[in-house]
Structures are given as structure tokens and as C-alpha cells.
Amino acid sequence: MPSNKSVSDAPITQFINCRILKEQELQSEDLWVREGTILNPERLFFDEKGYADTQIDCQGSIIAPGFIDVQINGGYGIDFSLATDNVKGGVSLVAKKILAHGVTSFCPTLVTSPPYIYHKVLPGISVQNGGAEGAGILGVHLEGPFISQEKKGAHPEQCLRSFQTGGFQDLLDTYGSLDNVALVTLAPELPRSQEVIRELACRGVTVSLGHSVSNLSQAEEAVQQGATFITHLFNAMLPFHHRDPGIVGLLTSDQLPRTLCTHGMIADGIHTNPAALRIAHRAHPTGLVLVTDAIPAMGLPPGRHTLGQQVIEIQGLNAYVAGTKTLCGSIATMDMCVRHFLQASGCTVEAALEAASLHPAQLLGVSDRKGTLNYGSDADFVFLDDSLNVRATYIAGEQVWKK
């Protein structure tokens, strides 16, 4: 039976025999898609007297919103912080490869770099929709250089900066432009950070706290100025102390406005002990955002590779700053992180999936069209089996990857 086509000629696809993540639970419902967005079948039935042109049997798969990775430094040999002649090509390669991990949108991340790198690389990366060519770009994540020296982690010390002299102008001079920037990580204890955070928030850039030795009150102040995220919770910050919880204390602080902080977690089995994952999840379950923090070596075989201005070494599932035992990012893929988080935290399947889709979308303020399977949202989703392995990836209702 052809659809009525009284409102639109576009074909309607109905995904049947599946369980979809909706309203915090897996529901045995069909998923309807038209023109790249999720369609309301009840409206279709009663208003348009229409029905599906094609039915696709999902064979019992779980359908979750496409994963969103807000912290990924590169992969498959591509380093987003390297000023190559083909920045666009490099980003596209990674965008295409991560479709296999269920990622439909991401934020290419640049680690602490000298200003000329930002000036050369940033113009080559723009916000764009995803598709068969690769996952969509929601904006760039600039992690540094306005971070703490003691907590620089794998970031090169000589490139660290402050905004002591010129405040926000220092930041603008360093980056060159904020046009396609979605997220900035900085250390709030740096002088004049408050005005910088305020200005960034005003411009719609999400501000995250990380690589910092700030105490809880400095962190709370930063949130009151507009910071809404914590970059890889527990890593590169002061450990929780019962008399000064530091940034970790934001999870349960009572000083914060309603739009509370979310926190990124690298659930690769290496960066955070399962007990720590559980503590974070239980303290603030709706704020947990899974990130990969994947480095260029992700997807590559063991050995030495380049990250920003430094050399790193892969041993098994670990990536260290060459010659040290400092972790410098993970090589786990997003779907691995989801599976590990599910198993380590003992959370529900729904919670694990939301941590990789809904929560990052909420963080970036795009949850009206990404990160959910609500009617009207972009039809970016993944088919998963019961163990949360990716079977197929869809962007705008089209299949862009299949196992």
C-alpha cells in the first residue's frame, strides 16, 4: 500500500521488529523515518492517512540514538592537532572510520598547541552534517592551552598559556577564531578565568573544567559563571578529598544552578577504576557523558606515534607518553566504552546508551535534534545486539555503515 503522500512525497521507512531507546527505556516500538528525521506515526496515520513505503526488519536489534563523542583527538594515524596540508581530509577519514563504532556526531579535539597550529588547523574544520561520507561534526573541542602546569598530563608544557594579561582577548588571539568551536577546556584557577568563562558562555561555547588543580569553591565559581562540563572526571585534576573535594565535588555540590554540570568519563578500563566509574554514575547518573579521548593511534597497531607536539607509545590497550608511565589518552572506541561502562558500573542498558548519546547532546545544547529518537529529531541511530555490539549505523535515515 503506497503512502498517501498528502503532505510530502518523500518515502517513509518503518523499522520493525526492534526495541528503541525512548523515554529512558527500551520500548518494543517501530521507528519511522522520513526525510532524514524521526516521524510521528500516529500523526501520519490520523492527519495524513499515510503509512510506510518500506518496512525494514531489524531482527530484534536494539536501536539507540547515534553516539556522540565530544572528546576525540584523532585516530587511524590522523592527529587533529597536526597542521597538515590536508586538515579537511584527515578529519573526514576519521569521521568515516568512526561510523563503525556507532558514532554519528563528534567534536574533533585539539590538545594544547602553539597559536600557529590553531590558526592553521581551525579554518579547515567546520560544523557539518554527517552522512555516508562520515559522522557529523558538531564543532571543535579545544582542550588547552589554558590549563594547569601541574596537571598538564600529556600536553606539552612549553605551549601552556594564561589569560592573565589580556583576559578574553588572549584566548581569542591564541585560537584565532571561535567560529566552529563547540567546547573549550580550561583550568578555572587561572587568573581572570571568570571573565573568560562568562564571555565564552555568552558566545554559546560550552566551557569545561579540566587539567586543573582548582579547589571546590573555584570550580563552583566557574560553574556559576557558565561552565557546564568536567573534562575526563578524575583524570588530570586533584583527587577527591573529604575536606576539599576539588572539581570532583561538583558532582554533588549544592551551590550550583539547576542546569548542572555534566562530566566526561573515559570508560576504557584503564583511565578509571570501575569503582570510580560507579561512584560518578551513582552520584550524578544523568550527567555522565562517555568520551573516548581517543588518540591518533586508535585503530592502529602497537608502536610509536605522534600526538600534538609529543611522541606516544602503544602497549596493548594502553597509550603512554613515550618513555614514561603517564597515560596520554585512550585507544578504545566509543562502542567499547559503552560496553565497558555497562559492565563496570552495573548500570542499565538504557543508562549506558544515554551516556553516549543523550547526555553529550544535552551538554552541547543540541538535544532537540540529536541524541534522542524523539519525533522530529535527526534520524541518526545505531542498531546494536544485546551485548551492545554495533550492527549498523544510520545517519539521516540512511545506512552509512554495516557490519
Binding site: 500500500m1 498517501n4 517501530d30 510521528n40 506515526p41 500516529e42 500523526r43 501520519l44 496515520f45 490520523f46 495524513e48 492517512k49 499515510g50 503509512y51
Partner: protein
């Protein structure tokens, strides 16, 4: 009338679904020959709808050439409100079967001219005729929203709900009386009487008194379902609990006829038999 008594709710739902299935399959509906079905809402028919969906999923029945007409709908309730009868029918029936949306008719409680909407609906029913009208019964003996005192020859119209009904419905609207619709559009008693065949589903002890009034006492506009005593083909399908107020003699008589009634559902026909 036929009074079909099953032991409990699920068996009653299944019997009713089997009957509907047989009627549709044996009718052999086609593009020039639609089977017209009147449908109810509420908790009673849920089991029956589930069974019909099962029969559809297994390929034994198709609703492609079935036209449906619902009995009623609230006035002023947004169509996609979870308590609207449109939502009820979509979630509990339509979304699981292959009915053509153009053939599913429900009164529009948000029509700009309610009177015209009722008249148009009545006209549609008249021109198509209903092969089988399935309905329920309220604890006050009403059919559709024909509350006590409704004319037994009434037609599709706007009705104001009795206070009792509004209070009873409050539980679906967060117990906020101000949110409960006070008016509905409903088919009339006369409208349903025009159907070629009527099947009333009655289950549960709270409906027992209404069933007694409907079939053991006289035809009375205070118990509007009693009008069907004057319909040539009515089946009442109920469970044991619904018969609690009837005379033992009535129940024994009709239980004794079950072997006859069961011939209507056994053998159970399937669309698969008619593939050729």
C-alpha cells in the same frame, strides 16, 4: 440474543476475537467489498484487541479491506493526548495491524462544528452500514456514551457527561477534575441498533448489575444496553463474574447452549485458507 459465558476474562476476550475473526474471514472482504466493524474503547476490549493483533501477526487475518468506526471520542481533548480515544485506538490496535488509515474512522472531538461532525459521521455509517458493531457496557448500563436517560432511538450527537463518569475518569487525568473532558461525541443507541449484528463485551463483577438490568429486566432508557433486546442479532460475551446478578436459571440455560455457541468459533477460519 445469545449469551456466551466463559470462565474468565482472557477466555471471554479470546472467544470474542475468534468470533470477529471468523466473521471477517468468511466474509472474504476485497477492494470492492469492505467489512465494516464498529469498535469500542475502555479496559474491557483490550484482551480482545490483543488477540486480534496476534491473529494478524500470524497471518490469519488482514484488516486491509476492513473499515472501522469507533463509537465515541472526547470533545476538546487534543488528538494526541494519551487519554484520547484516537491515542487508545492507535496504541492498542491500529499501529499493530495493516488497516488503511483512510478506513479508520473516529469522531473528531476538535471539529470546528461538532453538530456537523456528528451528522457527517452518522451519514457515513448509514451509507456503509455496519456488519458487526462491537461494544461494551458501563456500570450504569450505558452503551458508548449514551448515559441513563438517553433516547433509545438516538443518533450520533454531542453528550454532556454525568458527574459520576467525570469523577470516574479523573484517575486518567492526574486526579484533576478540571482536566477531565465534560463532553463527548457519541453514536446513538439507534445508530448501533442499525448494525446488522451487535456484540457486547461484558466482564467483571462491577458490570454484573448492569448486565442483569440489560437482559433480565425490560427495555428501559435508564439502562440503554437493554435496547438490544429488540435487535435481531445480538451476542453478549461475558465472564463468570459478570453473571453474578443474573438468575441461576438464566445462566444455566445459556451455559447449556455453549456447544451451539462454540460452533461459531470452531472451526476457526483463517485468511490462509482463502489464499486461492
Amino acid at each position: 440474543m445469545r449469551l456466551v459465558i466463559l470462565d474468565e476474562y482472557n477466555l471471554a476476550s479470546e472467544w470474542a476475537a475468534k468470533y470477529i475473526r471468523n466473521r471477517i474471514v468468511q466474509f472474504m472482504p476485497g477492494p470492492d467489498k469492505f467489512f465494516t466493524l464498529g469498535l469500542p474503547t475502555g479496559s474491557t476490549p483490550l484482551g480482545c484487541y490483543k488477540k486480534l493483533i496476534e491473529y494478524h501477526t500470524s497471518g490469519d487475518i488482514s484488516f486491509k479491506y476492513v473499515k472501522t468506526f469507533n463509537m465515541d471520542e472526547y470533545v476538546g481533548l487534543p488528538r494526541d493526548h494519551p487519554e484520547s480515544y484516537h491515542s487508545y485506538m492507535w496504541n492498542n490496535f491500529f499501529k499493530h495491524i495493516d488497516i488503511d488509515p483512510a478506513n479508520a474512522h473516529i469522531l473528531d472531538g476538535n471539529a470546528p462544528d461538532l453538530q456537523k461532525e456528528c451528522e457527517a459521521f452518522e451519514q457515513k455509517l448509514r451509507s456503509w452500514g455496519i456488519d458487526l458493531f462491537v461494544g461494551g457496557i458501563g456500570p450504569d448500563g450505558h452503551i458508548a456514551f449514551n448515559e441513563p436517560g438517553s433516547s433509545l432511538v438516538s443518533r450520533t450527537r454531542v453528550k454532556t457527561l454525568a458527574k459520576d463518569t467525570i469523577v470516574a475518569n479523573a484517575r486518567f487525568f492526574g486526579n484533576d477534575l478540571s482536566k477531565v473532558p465534560t463532553m463527548t461525541l457519541t453514536v446513538g443507541v439507534g445508530t448501533v441498533m442499525d448494525a446488522r449484528e451487535v456484540m457486547i463485551l461484558i466482564t467483571g463483577a462491577h458490570k454484573a448489575f448492569a448486565l442483569y438490568k440489560a437482559i433480565e429486566e425490560g427495555v428501559n432508557h435508564m439502562w440503554t444496553v437493554s435496547a438490544f433486546q429488540q435487535h435481531p442479532r445480538t451476542i453478549f460475551v461475558c465472564d463468570e463474574d459478570a453473571t453474578l446478578e443474573l438468575r441461576v436459571k438464566t445462566v444455566k440455560y445459556f451455559k447449556g447452549l455453549m456447544h451451539v455457541h462454540n460452533k461459531l468459533v470452531d472451526p476457526l477460519h483463517s485468511m490462509k485458507d482463502y489464499k486461492n
